[in-house]
Amino acid sequence: MNEFWAAVWAVVWKDLQIEGRTRQTVSVMVMFSLATIIMFNFALGMAVNVNLSAGRDVAPALFWAIVLLAAILGLNRSLALDRENQVFDALLIAPIPRTALYVGKVISVTLFTLLLDAILVVLFTVFFNQPFYLPVVLLVVVLGTVGYVIVGVLITSMTIQSRTREVLLPVLLLPVSLPLVLPAAMATATYIASAMSGEASWALVQAPVLLVIAYDLLMLGVGLFAYQFVVES
């Protein structure tokens, strides 16, 4: 077990070192998110306060749409790093469980995406004047992000060698993540709306949050089982 976690830590630390030096993964995700928020602000007429309530209504959905799309950029970038110079071959012939490569990559991409989440929480709180910082909302954001990355790393590992990976990844990943995104977005919107009307309650979001947790666990099991076959093919 120690061997497994030592390999996981090695992969995570290596990804953090590269990101610390290049800042290419998180910065791309943040720039995309900023551009999208600004674009939607104009599109919704919020820039001139024509229809402020419209912006508020769609804010939770917009939050998740941005996280999903920005994470795709991060997934592609992070996994492509291991394919440059065929480094992945050296990882595959290392005497470590291949699932350690999967878990390590899930952890590092999750960390990058959670950093993006933190920035988005601040931006959405400021731009849309909604309490995205509430602990329950943050819990949903973390659980949703973890689940999305768990399945994202698996599917990106399948598509990363393809010349059309930029198209293939969202086409495969977004439908598969629908059972995660629906309850996550629903829980986010419901809790924020109830909090703004002073009626926030855990019971309102318990069912969708449990669905998100179930999805995370199920996909983690699928990922741990399927990853070795994915990388061997």
Partner: protein
Amino acid sequence: MIRLNAVVKQYGLNPVLRGVDLAVEQGEFVTLVGPNGAGKSTLLSIIATLLRPSSGEVTVGGWRLPEQAARVRRHIGLVSHHSLLYRDLTAAENLAFFARLYRLDDADDRVAGALRQVGLLARQRDPVGTFSRGMIQRLTIARATLHEPDVLLLDEPYTGLDQEATALLDDLLRAETARGRTILMITHDLAHGLGLADRLAILYGGRIARETKRDDINPAAVYDLYTDVTMGE
């Protein structure tokens, strides 16, 4: 040390290897040559545990592949014309990462020793992306031998090297031979292939078409031998 018996590899209906028989003894240096598409890299990938043979028997150090691949991996090192290194990490960081994957004791000393051996200690803090092709290939040797493997697999290691870098690589490979490592090298360069090796094998038509010991052939005649085999005698 390496035994291949009737190894076949097919991609779909297309057979690349049609029954390869090859044995490399412990401490022996064997060079495998052959025209493009002969299946040399496929054969090396099978021995490196990166590919599964369609049929046939492969053993490395007495362990059967692919069943005992996990045991074999600690005993092999792979050098290819790709560096298998992260260009955004420094030379020392790259080696430290692989030292962690192989769980090497006294990793810092080993990394410093490996860098010293390939003449890159002074550049240990420079990112690999700033290195010349020759420096990268020397670092690649350091990576592949960091864990003291019994078997070193070389896939076109001379690709893109100038004369000085080629001479340095020759010296490094002679040093590895002197340490008693078993080496299997794939190359297009017949002169280098025969100059360093104990034995030359020609892969043609998906089979080992000819094998000869270095002492049994005049270096000047090796081109004629190769032409005879690949042009159908």
